[in-house]
């Protein structure tokens, strides 16, 4: 059973995309923990830790990813959550993608991504089976 945390860090108030993803992952047979809007990096990483998820899927539309994502990845490393696959979606300009990957994010999915691609990516790249 693949467990995924779908999280919305920061201040933007739109979670339609996150909910669409959550539902698609559920329909693909995954267990999706959804934590709602306005999450701090600390809250998100604490939820990853307690829920012991295989995948963290972040959705950021506010443009705050250059500060939020490095902070989240730093906290993930602090808690030794290195085997969690981290995906980023929302509105991430092409020029920022490489910097996001550098922080430890595995893949950035832009607007209009087919949910099937996300599901396939997760199934292929989940790192732990324990």
């Amino acid at each position: 059973m693949i467990r995924v945390l779908v999280a919305k860090p920061g201040l933007d108030g739109h979670d339609r995309g996150a909910k669409v993803i959550a539902r698609a992952l559920r329909d693909a047979g995954m267990e999706v923990v959804y934590t709602g809007l306005h999450q701090t990096p600390e809250q998100i990483v604490d939820a990853v830790l307690q829920e012991d998820v295989d995948v963290l899927a972040l959705s950021i539309l506010s443009g705050a990813h250059p500060t939020l994502v490095p902070r989240i990845m730093e906290l993930m490393r602090e808690h030794e959550l290195n085997d969690v696959l981290v995906l980023l979606g929302g509105i991430i300009p092409d020029d920022d993608v490489e910097a996001m990957i550098q922080t430890g994010v595995s893949r950035v999915f832009g607007p209009g991504t087919d949910t099937k691609d996300i599901i396939d990516y997760i199934r292929e790249h989940v790192r732990r089976d324990d």
Partner: protein
Amino acid sequence: MISARELVPGIVAGHKRAIARGLTWIERDHDRGRALVHLLFPRAGGAHIVGVTGAPGVGKSTLVNRLTLTLRSQGRRVGILAVDPSSPFSGGAILGDRIRMQESVMDDGVFMRSLATRGHLGGLSRATFGAVTLLAAAGFDVILIETVGAGQSEVEVMQLAHTTLVVLAPGLGDEIQAIKAGILEIGDAFVVNKADREGADQTARAIRGMLSLSRRDVAWVPPVVKTVAEQGEGIEELVDAVNRHRQYLDESGQWAERRGALALHLIELAMGDWTHRAIAQAQRNVDWSAVMEDVLSGGADVEELARQLLLQALKGRNHEP
């Protein structure tokens, strides 16, 4: 690969990573998960296990959040298990109880885990029983179990909890008559949440009326507490009722009795697991469609067939399903 025995010290010390990993093992129902529960069971006797049940939308998650904050202010460590249904079609689930628990779960004295039912009926997941044992052994003083949105027969939580809170919202009125059997029989306390809405007093009265007609235990009168969980109103009174119930269980000797009842239920669940394994094993090893045909045509004695399948599974002593 670490063993169950190696994980125990971290759990007993309350380390979040160890607790989280142990819960995952229990959920995946492999040998290490079972070994872990077995090792931790002797350490799990002290926690007060409180079930929170009720229909979808009555405010169970918000109430659990508020209960946690108040229990924390009394210095008690709180474990939370929140159960949501798995899809019968995909097997997937959306676990959304954290949304309403954000205020309480960031605290180091709180550990919260979302569980999906994974096909288990009764309002809990199969893993909830082991998960409670683990959290109790990890030193949480109170363990709150939020069931799936319950109808009339999701009453399994009473097998696990010392104290069961049945949560309702105003406006049920006559419906109380319809649901008086089942879920309304298992409450050690009743919560009329969203009590700022019209009809709260009638609902509280209807519950009291029902309780005066039928009670399991004449020495404990289940209190009916009105709350507005969103605003935190009535929560102290509810925590007080929970604490009084624990004291009552201690003094009446029922604390120990309930532990005995839990042991019995655990044995029943484990027997059920053997049944599932027997069927899974048979489906792998024999021509299952021929067996089904045999049953449907009246050729096979179903009772005898069941006995044979169980015997084969037990002979194999194969733990893995």
